[in-house]
Symmetry: C2
Subunit: 331 residues, 2 copies
C-alpha cells in the first residue's frame, strides 16, 4: 500500500449513530453473542469511515466468562463480575475452554464477517492479554486503584502465576480458533499493563504474552501486542515476538522507533481525545504523527487507545481522511 | 547522612490507627484547616515509623478552593467541585490569591509543625502542579477518562493556557509563603501528568512547572517535582529546574538514573502495593530498589505514589527499617 494503513481501536462503537441504532434494541452481550449483529456493527465503520481493516466486534471478557465467571454488562457501570476471583478456591474452579465450542459464537461471527467483507479489507481478531484479564477477574470490574489485583501481584504471586498461565492457555486456544475461522491478524490488548511495576510487567504480563505469541504464530497472520501504559518498557516489549507493537500517546513515535529499531512495526499513536479538536486541528495532529514516525514502511495508523463515545463522526472521518491524504508523502 | 533518607508520600494517613482516631472526630477539611489537628497528624509518622522528613498535612485542592471554587470532601467519593470549571465565564471568575491571607491556616500549620518538630526532621511543604489542579477543576473530581480536561487540552488550548498560568501564579505565591512560614523543601505533585500526550505535557504541565520552580527557588530549599505517569518524558523533566525528580514504579531506578544523569537526584520508587507483601518480601523489594539505584548519593527513599489506606502499619515500618538497614552499603 502506497500510504499508511489506518484503522481505529473501538471503531465499531457508540460514537456511531448506526451503532446506537442497533444497540437501542439489543443488550451489549446480545450484540457480541449474535453473529448477525456482530457482523452488522463490525462492518459499519468500513463504509462510514473508510478504514483499512475491520476488527471483530466482541469483548475481551468473553474469555473469563467462558472460564466460568458470571459476567454482567450494566449501563453506565461497565462490565462487572459479581463474584470476583479472590481466593485459591475460585482459581481452582476456573474451567478449561474449548473455544470452538464454548466461544463458538465468536467463530461464527468471524466467518459471517469474512463472508460479508468479501476481502474488501482484512479482519483483525483479538484477545485480552492474561494480566489484563486477570485484573478484571480479580477486581470484579474496572478500578481506580486495582488494589485487589496488585495485592495478588505482591502478596500472592504464587496464585497470580497460576492464574495468568491458565488464562494464557485459553487465549492460545482462542486465538488459534479465531485464525481457523478466518481472522487475518490478531491483536492482544494489555490495557492494564501500565499499572504494573517493571518486574511485575516482565513476569505477569510480558512472559505469558511471549508464550502466547510463540504458540499462535502463523505465516501471513501478523500479531499486534498493545501494552497500554507500558511505554517505558518498549525495548523489551519489542522482543516479545509480535510483528507490531501498539504505542500509546505518552511517547512520541520517533522515540518509540529509536527504541524498537527494525524489530517491529508500530501502530498508533494519536491521543483519542485529540478528536475533540476541530477538523483542521485534527489534520495538524495527523501531520505531526506522520512526521514523528518519519519515512519508511512499518507504520499502522491508529489512535493510542479506543474511540470515545462522544467524538463527532465527522471528526473521526477527518482523522481517517487526513491519514490517507498525508501519508503517501512519508512512503 | 550515611544512608538513604526515607519518607513516604501520604505518610500521615488512614493506614495509621492514630490518624483514624483523629479523623473519627473531625472532617477531612477540618483536619487540614485547623493548625493543631494538621500538626498532630503531620507528626504521627515521625514517631511511629521513624521517617526522615515530615510532610505538611494538607490537600493540593486548597489552591482551587482559595481561587473561589467550592470544594467538598465526601466520604467514599473523594474530593468534589460541585460546580466544575467548564467555560470562559468560570475561568474569568477565578480569584487571585494572597496565600498568607486566604491560605493563612496552612502557614499557621507550618509554623506550629516546625515548633513541634524542633528540628528533629525537616518539614516538606507542597503544592499541586497547574495541570493536575486544572484537571480536578475542569472534571469536578476524580475521573477515569478525564474527558473534560482532555477536551480543553485539544479543543480549547487557549482557555487551558490561561487556566494553567493563573494557577501557576497562585502556586508561586503559595510556595513562597510556605517557605516564609518555615517549609524546608517543596514538592510539586503532578499526579495526572501521565494522562497527557507528549506535546501537551510539555506545554500544559512542564512549562508552567518550569516557571514556578525558577520563581520560587531559594538556596538550601530543595524543590521536588513528581510527574506521576510521565516517566517516558524523564529526559526533559530533568531540566525543569527541580533538585529532585519523583520517580514512579513504571521505570527501574537504574534506567531513570541513566536518563537523568547528574542533573537531579531521584526520589522513589517502590510500588505502594508492594507493601501488601509480607515483611520479608518487602525487605527483598527494598534491596532490589537500592541495588537498582546503585552507589552514590542523590537517592531519596520513597514509594512511587501515596500510601494506601489498607496497608498494615507493620509492613510500612518494615519498609522504613529496611531502607535504614540496607542503604548504608550503597553510600
Amino acid at each position: 500500500m502506497e500510504r499508511t494503513p489506518v484503522w481505529i481501536m473501538r471503531q465499531a462503537g457508540r460514537y456511531l449513530p448506526e451503532y446506537r441504532a442497533v444497540r437501542k434494541n439489543h443488550s451489549f452481550s446480545e450484540m457480541y453473542k449474535r453473529p448477525d449483529l456482530a457482523t452488522e456493527v463490525t462492518l459499519q465503520p468500513i463504509d462510514i469511515l473508510g478504514v483499512d481493516a475491520a476488527i471483530l466486534f466482541s469483548d475481551i471478557l468473553v474469555v473469563p466468562e467462558a472460564m466460568g465467571m458470571e459476567l454482567h454488562f450494566s449501563e453506565g457501570k461497565g462490565p462487572q463480575f459479581p463474584s470476583p476471583l479472590r481466593d485459591e478456591a475460585a482459581l481452582k474452579a476456573l474451567r478449561p475452554v474449548d473455544s470452538n465450542q464454548d466461544l463458538g459464537f465468536v467463530m461464527e461471527a468471524i466467518r459471517e464477517i469474512r463472508r460479508s467483507l468479501a476481502d474488501r479489507v482484512p479482519l483483525i481478531g483479538f484477545a485480552g492479554a492474561p494480566w489484563t484479564l486477570a485484573t478484571y477477574m480479580i477486581e470484579g470490574g474496572g478500578s481506580k486503584t486495582f488494589q485487589h489485583a496488585k495485592k495478588w501481584r505482591f502478596a500472592r504471586p504464587d496464585l497470580l502465576r497460576i492464574l495468568v498461565e491458565k488464562i494464557a492457555d485459553v487465549v492460545i486456544d482462542y486465538c488459534r480458533a479465531q485464525m481457523d475461522a478466518g481472522a487475518q491478524a490478531i491483536q492482544i490488548f494489555d490495557s492494564w499493563a501500565g499499572i504494573l511495576d517493571t518486574d511485575g510487567f516482565e513476569e505477569f504480563a510480558l512472559a505469558p504474552v511471549r508464550r502466547i505469541i510463540s504458540e499462535i504464530k502463523r505465516p501471513g497472520i501478523p500479531v499486534i501486542y498493545f501494552p497500554k501504559g507500558g511505554m517505558t518498557w518498549l525495548d523489551r516489549v519489542a522482543d516479545c515476538g509480535a510483528d507490531v507493537i501498539g504505542v500509546d500517546w505518552t511517547i512520541p513515535l520517533d522515540a518509540a522507533r529509536r527504541i524498537t529499531g527494525d524489530r517491529v512495526a508500530l501502530q498508533g499513536n494519536m491521543d483519542p481525545t485529540a478528536l475533540y479538536a476541530p477538523p483542521e486541528a485534527i489534520r495538524d495532529q495527523v501531520r505531526s504523527v506522520l512526521a514523528s514516525y518519519g519515512k519508511g514502511h512499518g507504520h499502522i495508523g491508529n489512535l493510542g487507545h479506543g474511540m470515545l463515545p462522544d467524538i463527532p463522526v465527522e471528526h473521526t472521518r477527518a482523522y481517517v481522511d487526513a491519514m490517507k491524504e498525508f501519508s503517501p508523502a512519508w512512503k
